[in-house]
């Protein structure tokens, strides 16, 4: 019989802090478990919500992966971007030697390769198929050439490269400098645009995720109205009442992110063989970049944060209205 125990008084007095802490932790575990079980009891509702969240997360994530892969392809080309320096015809060998030294000494230059006019002619004869036409020319029409490899670390530094070109142009005996930068610049602008689209799409769909989770939690609160009232009547704090709904939101977000990852992974598996075939046609070792462990964890983090956030919004809007009357 409960009430025959005479050691009555405020509850706080016969519960130590350690006891409370253990009870608190146990309650969190129990709430998590109960939230999970409740979700399983409404499989259709849960599956629908999780799928909507998964799609909303997978869309911006897949676009991000696309942009990421384009960027990878771009940087492969960038590393082969060379500056071609044409030497004045009739430049003296000493002058050419001096130019080579100066080019080698420039900041931001990785390597310099010299191709003499004779070498260029031989190469042209061998590769172009116009070799016989050259016999009708009195002398070698081709200039001597330096192939300059600018330094590229990861992202190409277009400004830096532009500066190198200007500097080279100012050197003596240099006739002309060529680099095909225009398409690189375009690629960069495209990638930048892609990043912005990912961000915009991500924000839009993120708001969608918040609303979906918020609505699911709102319905859950409504269906447990009676329970909330009873819990408040027996001294449950707002935090106590809030907890199961926050856990439900967190779980929905995490499951959504997990399904989104699985969707992305399957898509990549499906596409990657075609990409490999295509790459092999270009003698490239290029492979599709997947989410990776960091990407997966980021996606889970985003899902969890949005799940918790959506639940928080719903709970703070609807739970306050439910007071025992």
């Amino acid at each position: 019989m409960a009430a025959t125990d005479n050691s009555r008084g405020a509850i706080g007095k016969n519960l130590s802090f350690a006891h409370r802490w253990r009870g608190y932790k146990a309650h969190h575990r129990e709430t998590l478990r109960a939230s999970f079980v409740k979700m399983l009891h409404e499989p259709m509702q849960t599956v629908l919500t999780v799928m909507v969240i998964a799609i909303a997360l997978a869309l911006p994530a897949s676009l991000y992966l696309t942009v990421d892969n384009v960027q990878q392809v771009g940087s492969n080309f960038e590393s082969s971007a060379q500056i071609t320096v044409f030497v004045n015809k009739g430049a003296k060998p000493e002058a050419i030697e001096g130019l080579e030294k100066k080019l080698n000494g420039m900041a931001g230059v990785t390597s310099v390769e010299y191709i003499s006019a004779q070498q260029a002619l031989l190469e042209f004869k061998a590769l172009s198929g116009f070799g016989s036409a050259l016999r009708y020319l009195e002398d070698n029409p081709l200039p001597a050439v330096f192939l300059v490899q600018p330094m590229m670390e990861g992202e190409v530094d277009l400004v830096q490269t532009q500066k190198i070109i200007t500097d080279i142009k100012a050197l003596p005996v240099v006739d002309d400098v060529q680099i095909d930068m225009a398409w690189l610049q375009r690629l960069h602008l495209l990638i930048e645009m892609g990043h912005k689209i990912v961000l915009a799409l991500g924000i839009t769909l993120g708001i969608g995720v918040l609303l979906v989770i918020g609505n699911t939690i709102r319905l859950a609160i409504e269906s447990r109205r009676n329970e909330i009232i009873v819990v408040k009547l027996v001294g449950g704090t707002n935090a106590y009442v809030r907890r199961p709904f926050l856990y439900t939101g967190l779980l929905l977000g995490l499951f959504g992110a997990l399904i989104a990852s699985i969707m992305l992974f399957s898509c990549l598996m499906w596409i990657s063989s075609s990409v490999e075939n295509l790459a092999s046609l270009y003698q490239s070792q290029y492979r599709l970049q997947g989410l990776g462990i960091t990407g997966f964890l980021s996606l889970m983090l985003i899902g969890g944060v949005f799940g918790l956030g959506g639940a928080w919004i719903a709970v703070s809007r609807h739970l306050r209205d439910i007071e025992p009357r």
Binding site: M1, A2, A3, T4, D5, N6, R8, G9, A10, I11, L15, H19, R20, R22, G23, Y24, A26, H27, N226, E227, I229, V230, V231, K232, L233, V234, G235, G236, T237, N238, Y240, E323, P324, R325
Partner: protein, 225 residues
């Protein structure tokens, strides 16, 4: 233990549910609160549960003025009070055990302690063998007893009951009153709102009568009906 000091409650719209009500109850005292429906019994109990706040006047519990409690302190206060509801307010999707365990769970008791206390409370109301049943499988009297077990499982200092014998036959009513007597005997302050005249007449207890929000009668004896 309970002290109403010139307390009034006016609802928005002008309805005055309680008017200048003053009374005191000592620790370990047991009393009836009576009056026809609409006289203010429910409002009085709601004020004691902090489901409502008084418009004017003070309500002191164990010397503490409830007006000074902030909303965030309400849960802590409610943990010192046990309530038996007229419609028993049991959660139908939970077992009897889980229903009775609720006040302990919200207070953060460890599972072992909860099991011990819930069984003690269920034993006290004679329902130990029903702990794994759902409330719907029980009779009306049994449901009411589960409600009582839940109201006392956390050893409150104050026990409030709103029409605890509402739909019960006289024999069950007597049993439930005997339960309340036992809580009183260990020092719990018990306040029972009821208009069950035959029940009141059978027990020698203090009776407070409300009429249109005013306390018109406060005294002991055999009813006066």
């Amino acid at each position: 233990m309970i002290c109403f000091d010139n307390l009034s409650k006016r609802y928005p719209g002008g309805f005055e549910a309680l008017r200048n009500v003053s009374f005191k109850m000592e620790a370990g005292e047991m009393a009836f609160l009576t009056g026809h429906s609409g006289a203010g019994k429910s409002t009085l109990l709601k004020l004691l549960m902090l489901m409502e706040r008084p418009t004017s006047g003070n309500l002191l519990i164990n010397g503490k003025n409830l007006n000074r409690l902030s909303n965030s302190q309400i849960p802590m206060y409610r943990r010192q009070v046990g309530v038996v509801f007229q419609n028993h307010q049991l959660l139908l999707d939970r077992t009897v055990f889980d229903n009775v365990a609720l006040p302990l769970q919200v207070s953060g008791y460890p599972a072992k302690e909860i099991g011990r206390r819930v069984r003690a409370a269920l034993d006290g109301v004679g329902l130990l063998d029903k702990e794994q049943q759902k409330p719907m499988a029980l009779s009306g009297g049994e449901q009411q007893r589960v409600g009582i077990a839940r109201a006392v499982v956390h050893k409150p200092r104050i026990l409030l009951a709103d029409e605890p014998t509402g739909n019960l036959d006289p024999q069950l009513s007597t049993e439930i009153m005997a339960l309340f007597r036992r809580f009183q005997s260990v020092g719990v302050t018990v306040l029972i709102a009821t208009h069950d005249i035959s029940l009141i007449n059978r027990m020698q207890l203090r009776i407070m009568r409300l009429e249109d929000g005013e306390l018109t009668d406060d005294g002991g004896g055999y009813g006066g009906y």
